[in-house]
Symmetry: C2
């Protein structure tokens, strides 16, 4: 079978990256639900679904490599292909982080009341960022991408707040719970951070410039 | 100036990736020393040197993009170029993790005696892995790369042991120290993990196969 024309391959890359972001958003949403409500069955389903994200990444790399091999793209097209390879790596990592949250939920230790609301909020913000990243990947909308970069500040604030709660001398839940929560909070923060990188990559692919250089 | 011939570009990519790995190995070594000996000045130097790794990554991406643009490489050469782009991302992340260790050392809270030896050992293993990754990147030696994959087990064992220490009901150093240590241990484990990915990438670039498929 002859390779697809370049524009079709580029469109498929955008679509697949969007699909990857939507998939990891769904995974983190379910993992957060499993964590908050101690639903181990749901957690297991998230763990089982991680292979889907890995398969999508392999597909992105296959199409990107085909595009390089058969069409030797230049300028913005080349940037888009290279950026798709990098972005797929970031989104796969988001999938791994959703998986880590699900694995924590699988162990079935209930979250202390003190931090439930914070995790619910971190989950909400992280899922929103991933869905926005999906839209950025699909539409290559630079303005939306620059907005997403700013949204991440909310996650950083939540992360800082969470450490304040843990460091309080009155923290009543002991060291093991604090260790679990430290890692969980880190997973959410890293997940959000990768969503930002996806958006930054897209800005670079579309404009050839870093997001900081875009005046909006 | 005309672009360099493809073989020269490929050789430079290998050399630069090796240099990146050596640089982050040195950064983590100094960060670990700063952490163990509460040497804040050394920690500050590590923080200041992180820009060097970012610059090397930018250089890798520039040469890789030039190679794609001017030579439209195929087969193993194309795999090497694509793999260089991905690998540079992993090594930059290793630099970020060394930076996080240095930032913790900068804050100047001494490590509890109970975990000093563990961190010294995690530092030693992680630096070794990065130096081996440097050699893999430079020489593209597949057998060394497969060995490195196995070496990472030592890090995983240390990481598990560390959590055992923290989870012990007799842990005497309180929650804030436990939170710091949890994150620090995670930085070392992730650093080592990225070194493994660098080796795996190299195996793939050289052979077109995943490391698990190489019988040695």
């Amino acid at each position: 079978m002859p390779p697809a024309p370049l524009p079709a391959q580029l469109a498929e890359l955008s679509e697949l990256l969007g699909q990857m972001c939507t998939t990891v958003a769904g995974a983190l949403q379910r993992a957060t639900y499993a964590l908050l409500e101690s639903r181990q069955r749901v957690a297991q389903q998230v763990v089982a679904a991680d292979a889907e994200v890995d398969a999508l990444r392999a597909k992105v790399e296959e199409i990107a490599t085909d595009a390089l091999l058969f069409h030797a793209p230049v300028a913005g097209d080349l940037r888009q292909v290279v950026s798709a390879i990098r972005t797929a790596g970031d989104v796969e990592r988001m999938g791994d982080l959703a998986l880590h949250v699900a694995q924590a939920a699988e162990r079935g230790r209930p979250l202390p009341e003190q931090v439930r609301d914070d995790f619910a909020e971190m989950g909400r913000v992280a899922v929103q960022l991933a869905l926005k990243a999906a839209e950025v990947a699909r539409t290559r909308n630079v303005i939306l991408a620059v907005e997403l970069d700013a949204d991440d500040d909310t996650m950083d604030d939540l992360h800082v707040h969470m450490f304040g709660v843990l460091m309080d001398p009155e923290w009543p839940c002991g060291v093991p719970a604090a260790v679990d929560i430290t890692l969980l909070a880190r997973y959410y923060e890293r997940f959000a951070d990768h969503a930002v990188v996806v958006a930054r990559e897209t800005v670079y692919a579309v404009t050839g410039q870093e997001p900081d250089a875009i005046p909006i």
